[in-house]
Every structure is written in structure tokens, then in C-alpha cells.
């Protein structure tokens, strides 16, 4: 009888992923669970929400209405988290990071999930650009932190993996020595605890958190 926001989120995932199977993968659930949630949502509102097709399920018109509602609710919740974080003087603001493909895929992407959980008020913008342009944007202030390949003698071949990276932040340089293949990705940069909420960037630096993904 009453619409549950949780089920709406599941429906939204189905909409975005384009099917129950894909949505289950995104939500870290089984297709069975997703299907059950959708079924309960349909019985709750009394309307068919999914158009089952052999190539996956697409939303009906009513389903799209509910998905849009879910989208707005999701945005409300994330906004609330940000406001809460700003309220209690946590790290807040926007950090623009420039890097190249390898670092983005192997280092930054797995990092943002944990960071978003830990610092809801922190907004990370990652942009890919080459080293020359990155340093230029860094000086102009459009970028807060750049990660670029260190020039090593071995970096001559076409697919030369970067042996080390050099990061710039707050007028200083950090070198991140390459580490052994490990399951848990750990950062080694120094910690700068939150120094009050601010709307300008960069507010703080990503602190050390051993358990982070």
C-alpha cells in the first residue's frame, strides 16, 4: 500500500543497468532478490512496472515515473549526507585530480568508493590529461592534484608501465614508490586531518586509512 524507497532504488538500478541480472550485479545481490523486490513493488502499487523481454527487462511508463522518483530520492539522500558532513566540520569540498588512464583505472577508481563512504562531503573530480596540460592546469588552479609518470629509464617502450608516480599537493611533492602486487590497495601519503568545513577547494587531503578499499 505504501511505496518503499528501498524498492524504488532497486527499480532504479534495473532501469540504469537495463535488466534484472545487470542490476543484481550492480547492487551486489542475486537476480532472485532483485526480482522479488520488483514483484513486491508491483504488488504494492498495483501496477506493472517491468516489461519483461527476452533480452532483458525494460521499465513501463509507470516504472519510469517511479524510477524518476527514486532518482530524486537518491539525490536527496546524498545531499543530506553532504550537508551532515559539512555540519559537523568534516572534510568538505571538491578536489580535482588529474591523472592518466592507468592510474585512473587501477588506483583512483577503486579508491573513490571508500572515500565517498568515509567523506560524504568530499567531491572528487577525476580528469584524464597528459602531463604537460596537467601541470598547466595545476598552476592555474583548475586542478588540485596531478599524478604523472615519473621519467624512468625503462619508460621508453610503447607500453612502459610507470615505475613511480609523483603527486603534487599544497606546494609539495610526494613520491609514491611502486609496491608489490597486493590484494589490498593501501595509500601511503601523509595525513592532514580535517581543518574545518570550507566551500573552497582543496579542503583537505585524502588521509591514511588502512582498511580502505
Amino acid at each position: 500500500m505504501d511505496i518503499d524507497a528501498r524498492k524504488l532504488a532497486v527499480l532504479l538500478a534495473v532501469h540504469r543497468a537495463g535488466g534484472v541480472l545487470a542490476a543484481a550485479d550492480v547492487l551486489h545481490l542475486t537476480p532472485s532478490a532483485v526480482s522479488q523486490q520488483i514483484a513486491r513493488l508491483e504488488s504494492a502499487v498495483g501496477v506493472t512496472v517491468l516489461d519483461r523481454q527476452p533480452r532483458g527487462a525494460v521499465l513501463t511508463q509507470a516504472g519510469r515515473v517511479l524510477a524518476e522518483t527514486a532518482e530524486r530520492i537518491e539525490s536527496e539522500l546524498t545531499d543530506a549526507r553532504k550537508a551532515l558532513a559539512a555540519l559537523q566540520g568534516e572534510v568538505t569540498g571538491t578536489v580535482v585530480i588529474s591523472a592518466f588512464k592507468t592510474v585512473i583505472r587501477m588506483l583512483l577508481v577503486p579508491l573513490v568508493h571508500g572515500l565517498r563512504e568515509q567523506f560524504p562531503g568530499l567531491e572528487l573530480l577525476i580528469r584524464e590529461m597528459d602531463g604537460e596540460k596537467a601541470q598547466q592546469e595545476l598552476r592555474s588552479g583548475a586542478v588540485d592534484l596531478i599524478i604523472l609518470e615519473a621519467e624512468t629509464p625503462s619508460a621508453t617502450g610503447p607500453r612502459a608501465a610507470p615505475a613511480m608516480c609523483r603527486c603534487w599537493r599544497n606546494r609539495g611533492w610526494w613520491s609514491c614508490p611502486r609496491r608489490r602486487r597486493s590484494r589490498s590497495v593501501r595509500r601511503t601519503w601523509s595525513t592532514s586531518p580535517g581543518s574545518g568545513s570550507t566551500r573552497t577547494r582543496p579542503p583537505t587531503a585524502p588521509p591514511n586509512r588502512p582498511g580502505a578499499v
Copy 2:
């Protein structure tokens, strides 16, 4: 770790009612359940949300932020229900009813809850005014349905209860004979099934539904 919309609704109820005890009454729950929901919400967001005072609990600043979010989510959900109802061609629109105190309290107020559940797209506006003004507003179109006291010989004393009501709708008159004291409030007006969604009023009339409250 993630904010649950259900818990936010509980928090909003506490905010509106002014305390856990009053909120439990509104939500048809026990104070224990409300307290537990609030406690879980606090542990989820990691912030104190209620300021426990001897005369009841009031929301902290963070709590108010969350309550505002809950208010917006609630509005989103009701909007979605209305859109859904309009989509499937159910009764939709606004009906302005004019009546007097006794009818409003004894008849309309217990009715609106059931109607809102059954017809989310129906918006009921109830206004109190005397018979003369009501008929005038009815003719002007500002009011769709009026309920006024029938002039009976016994209606001479200062607190003469109305023996019967006369209702106007769609250029016709219905007389609702007084019925015996009964637990279940039942309406006797004729049914006009939904005739497509419309944004003008009055779209349809309240249909007959024996089981309705």
C-alpha cells in the same frame, strides 16, 4: 552506513509530534520502536540526532537537516503516487467540498483517510462556510460540492442537530437520509466510474465502496 528513508520518516514524525511518545502515537507504534529506529539512524549516520530533554525530545541541527530531507522524500513519494494514479486513468483532480462543522468533524474527516489511500490522485479540499455563502460559491464554481442542513421543523433550537443533509453535485440534488448510529461509516451516493484523467475539477465523483472507512 547508508541512510534509510524509513528511519528518516520516523525522525520526521518525532520532529512534527515533538517527542518520541507523541510520534509513536502518530505512527501507530510503541515508543520503544520509535526509539530504536532513532537509535539506529544515529548509529548509521554517526551523529546525535535527538536532544533528549525531560519534557520530550527535540531535534538537533543535524536532525533538522535530516527531517527536511525526510519531508522532501515524503513529498516525492506522494507526488509519485499521484502521477501513477493519473497515468492509469484513475480518479484525479481536486474536489472542493463546503460543509459545516458537524459534518466536517463527524463525516468528512473520518472519510478522507480512506479516500486518500484509495485515490492518491484525488485532492480533497474541505472548507467550512454557512449555507448562503456555500450556494454562492457553488454557482461561481469555486466549490464543487456543498453539504448543508436540511430545513426541518425541529431545527429551531440553538443546537439543533441536522436531521438530513442535501448535497449538490453535477447539477443534481441528493438527499442523504439520516441513518442509525453505526460503527462503519458508509456512503450512499451513486457511483460515477473514473472517466479518464483530467486536470480540471471535478473529474469524477467519489464512487461507492462498501468496505471504505
